[in-house]
Amino acid sequence: MDYSLVCEQVLNGLQFGVMLFLMASGLTLVFGIMDLINLAHGSLFMIGAYLCAMAFQKTGSFLIGLLVALPGAAIVGIVVEVIALRKLYARDHLDQVLATFGLILFFNELTKIIWGPRALFLDVPRSLSGTVNIIPGAPYPAFRLAIIVVGAAVAIFLYLIITRTRLGMLIRASATNREIVGALGINVKLLYTLVFGLGALLAGLAGAMAGPLLSVEVGMGESVLILTFVVIVIGGIGSIRGALLGAVLVGVIDTLGRAFLPAFLKLFLDPATADGVGASTASMMIYIFMAVILTWKPKGLLPAHG
């Protein structure tokens, strides 16, 4: 097996993992702090991708696309939080599942009405359309590399916010005890809205950056959403570090499985069977991985509270 091919696939896995991390960090914060299961997080991802694609088609600039997508997703997130989700924090998880399932239906249909049922085209920005010789002998697409860099920057940024700022302190404190933080004179409602907006912004960023790699279409959020839940469960709910570790593991395992499992199985099986079995086993691998992790550590790899 080719060394540079393996390196390339590992980088692809890392890039995929970073994208999942952008989704997972928001979801895990909302989950860990507000105790809210938000199935509609994938819709924010989709909205980010659509806004970016729309602005890109109008202006031809990916940067403007980002500048529209990020605040756009954040605003949609904040509006949804204020109108509907705020009332669900104290409710049962089941009520939250039902309400946010309703939100998914609503946003999917709204997207179909505004942008039509056909997938939108979003191209890689021109300045990042080249390749970089990061692995000897195998030029790597600059755009994918840029996603890894952005993801790493976001991870550091989130780490600094949560450990070094007053906002982060309040976030951590209200995750532990909402009432006490409120009694100390902090506007917890506003804090929650801000955290939700931040999560929505990151989901929008993930969607906008995934746009050129996936197809921008209705329903694109749901498949990512399921993977994101897998990530935060593996990492441990409420933990940003866990989300990062889980995202990278899931990204790399999924990508490597898809790239190499069929070839590996061809050593034992006939080619047609190996392709079929390999493809489905590759799709199953992260779920198998998750089942193994949960049997070994029922609260995930790096749980937030001890």
């Binding site: 399932f101 309703g102 249909e109 009405i113 897998v230 489905s280 949960l294 049997t295 029922p298 609260k299």
Partner: protein, 332 residues
């Protein structure tokens, strides 16, 4: 003593049953026999929702992967019927298992296969709690989804068409009204059985574990075993619903196991009223009828269904049936 006084709940249930029994002749008389098919679909999903409700409503186990059992039941029917039509065997070793179209063999087989799958998945998932449980049941369902997608022999992604509905003794299942009454009978039977179950000693342990597992353990029960048994029973019920849905649509495909189907079944349970015996029937009827009615007015019916679900959550705390019977329905 309360069971001898007709309560609001009894009236609702009796009226519902009379309505369901009278529906096929009424629909035929009005020349709207299309509604018989739609109603059979509702009854089948009600059966799936009722099985989910056993674990979710009474046991507090939020399974987000019930589509796996539904799909497994459907595939047992689909695959064995396929072999029967083709005249080949499903497998030849260690013994020959030939295909069949006999419902008396197929449906119990669907139930047993789903129950075994639920035993396997439940045994692992029930070691976890809360959201971790939700996600691990989802993960296993996703595995099954991808497994059946990869079965090229049985149509893979595209699924498998049945040649005809199964043979059921002298009953002609191809007749929609006959099929409808069979579904109604099975659903009623399942609900009565569930009623016995949740009010038995076994059911008390299950409900007790939902409230407080530590207390149940202190009383000398091992909740894990009871919960697993309940989970297996629930998977078996969903498997039966799967066998029925395969017959109703004469088609099986991995889309039956898609996670959104698990979500929809869960929505039916919550919509109808969690932990009530008739709730899932109301929930299935409400969701499928709402889809049907809204889609007649607008192509974009989901735009309205979404907010309706949110309003139900915000304002009807116990679900539709729960709100109707005003919370006096704890004991089913």
């Amino acid at each position: 003593m309360d069971r001898f006084k007709p309560s609001v709940k009894t009236w609702i249930q009796a009226a519902g049953l009379v309505f369901l029994v009278g529906l096929p002749p009424a629909a035929s008389a009005l020349g709207e026999s299309f509604y018989i098919g739609l109603s059979s679909r509702i009854l089948i999903y009600a059966l799936a929702a009722a099985s989910l409700n056993l674990v979710l409503g009474f046991g507090g186990m939020v399974s987000f992967g019930h589509a796996a059992y539904l799909g497994t039941g459907a595939y047992v029917v689909g695959i064995l019927s396929y072999h029967s039509v083709e005249g080949s065997a499903f497998f030849n070793w260690p013994f020959v298992l030939a295909g069949t179209e006999n419902a008396f063999i197929l449906w119990p087989a669907a139930v047993v296969a789903s129950a075994l799958l639920a035993l396997l998945i439940g045994a692992i998932s029930l070691r976890t709690r809360g959201v971790y449980f939700i996600m691990s049941t989802l993960a296993f369902a996703q595995m099954m989804f991808f497994f059946f997608t990869s079965l090229e022999k049985y149509g893979g992604d595209d699924g498998l068409s049945l040649f005809a509905r199964n043979r059921f003794g002298s009953l002609d299942l191809g007749n929609d009204a006959v099929f409808y009454y069979l579904c109604l009978g099975l659903l009623t039977g399942f609900i009565l059985l569930s009623h016995r179950l949740v009010n038995s000693r076994f059911g008390m342990v299950i409900r007790g574990s939902k409230e407080n597992e530590t207390r149940m353990r202190a009383l000398g029960f091992e909740p894990y075993r009871y919960k697993l048994t309940c989970f297996v029973f629930s998977g078996a019920g969903a498997g039966l619903a799967g066998a029925l849905i395969a017959n109703q649509t004469e088609f099986v495909s991995p889309s039956l196991m898609h996670w959104s189907v698990s979500g929809e079944i869960m929505v039916m349970v919550i919509l109808g009223g969690v932990g009530t015996l008739a709730g899932p029937v109301f929930g299935a009827a409400a969701l499928l009828l709402l889809e049907e009615v809204l889609s007649q007015y607008t192509e974009h019916w989901m735009l309205f269904l979404g907010p309706i679900l949110i309003l139900v959550v915000l304002f009807a705390h116990n679900g539709l049936y729960g709100s109707l019977a005003q919370g006096k329905i704890r004991n089913g």
